[in-house]
Amino acid sequence: MRIGRYVKPAPLNFLIKFLNRTVESLMMARKVVITGLGATTPIGGDVPTLWENALKGVSGAATLEDSWVEEFDLPVTFAARATVQPTEVLTRPETKRMDPSTQFAVVASREAWADSGLSKDDIDQNKLAVAFATGIGGVWTLLNAWDTLREKGPRRVLPMTVPMLMPNGPAAAVSLDLGAAAGAHTPVSACASGTEAMHVGLELIRSGKADVVMVGGAEAAIHPMPMAAFSSMHALSRRNDDPAKASRPYDIDRDGFVMGEGAGALVLEAEEHALARGARIYAELAGSSVTSDAHHITAPDPDGMGATRALKAAMFDGRIQPEDVVHVNAHATSTPVGDAPEYTALKNALGDHLDNVWVSATKSQMGHLLGASGAVESVLCALAVYHRTTPVTINLDNQDPAIPLKVVTGKPEALPAEGNIVALNNSFGFGGHNAVVAIRSV
């Protein structure tokens, strides 16, 4: 692209040269790669366990043992708890000063950091950033403090309450933990938040503001109030008698999502930075996009137009053709209204090639981690293109004929052994938020 090819008045020469350089530098965007992975989830407290179970096909959902389920007579009595609680791995002062959502974030980001092989000595902290998302934030801290205020008065509300309940708590704690001084961002877009964090991280590196970004998402909302609220809107499955079968994306008997908790974290790194230190590279974060439906506060656009635009824009951003795409980790929460528009959007973006694409709905296994889900599913996409195999979908007994996707069930499916392959990760959130990332093999 050249500006002023035909008309070049002398006084404009400098301006034209400047504009051309800007256009060229924008078109030669830095490549961004994924060099570290971390996760703490309902099907594994670290990435190796998560991956092993994601290939096997297990359910993380179970009846809740908490006394508040009976106390409030909740209509939904089960959820997908993280298999390893942060209190088992963090110190007492850490858990006391951090909301559970932040605790999950710190656990996952420490695993990702260790996995990347980075040390604080080989990075300029002014080029190390954080983009850590949450959907709901410090809901446990907020509501515990409210209970304390009502029962014991204002004096008993602890001084750490505000920094613990704020939604930027996870990002702030991770930046403190790593010494990341190039900004700590908190994308908040409900269940799209974790994937939006990937988008923010990609932009930070491309723009040169950071060389390394710890991105991720964390959520800890298995609390009676959010459980009651999601139940009120009939978003949660009520399969109380069989929790392991409750999350069943694409099945005709799906009746809502299963609340999960945990965190996912990824180390994004400028390619030249990763190559210079001989890092192990899982995959390239090739493209990303965020759009909004502007349709309804909770219902997805039934034609999937916002999601379509997000998919097409992420593919354009990554110079990806439909034929390059071999795998999709779908948003697929298992709600009756949510699963179908995503199919429409994928069809719009990939056309007939969609018939060749293996789709995994991993929320069937671990439930819906809300603001953490996009990050955990991005971890799974990075592993899928790295190992060239897919996680499985469980509980798909009778596939909804309105959603004729090629779904991975029963056993993992091998992805093409040769050539560059691309996996897409979709996340959508209340508010009409759509976030898509494209992850390419290297």
């Binding site: 006391k96 000063r97 014991k152 004096r155 008993r156 001084p159 750490m160």
Partner: protein, 81 residues
């Protein structure tokens, strides 16, 4: 009513849970800020938890006078009386 030894032990427990410091390091002559490196938010947390544990009131204007662990033990013992 708690004895001075019991108050010291109770404070040490609160300090340990807030900061991770060894309970044995919480001694009467130790300064909260200089020896134990406790910041103002942690100090206020310790005060609130001590009020609850020992059923006393520690007014905000008194907190700045509690420079050492011994000062706090003495204040709490006096407030209980």
């Amino acid at each position: 009513m708690a004895s001075n030894e019991e108050i010291l032990a109770g404070l040490a427990e609160i300090v340990n849970s807030e900061t991770g410091l060894d309970e044995a390091d919480v001694q009467l002559d130790k300064s909260f800020t200089e020896d134990l490196d406790i910041d103002s938010i942690s100090m206020m947390t310790i005060v609130v938890e001590a009020e609850e544990k020992f059923d006393v009131k520690i007014p905000d204007e008194e907190v700045k006078n509690l420079k050492t662990v011994g000062d706090a033990v003495n204040f709490i013992a006096g407030a209980q009386a």
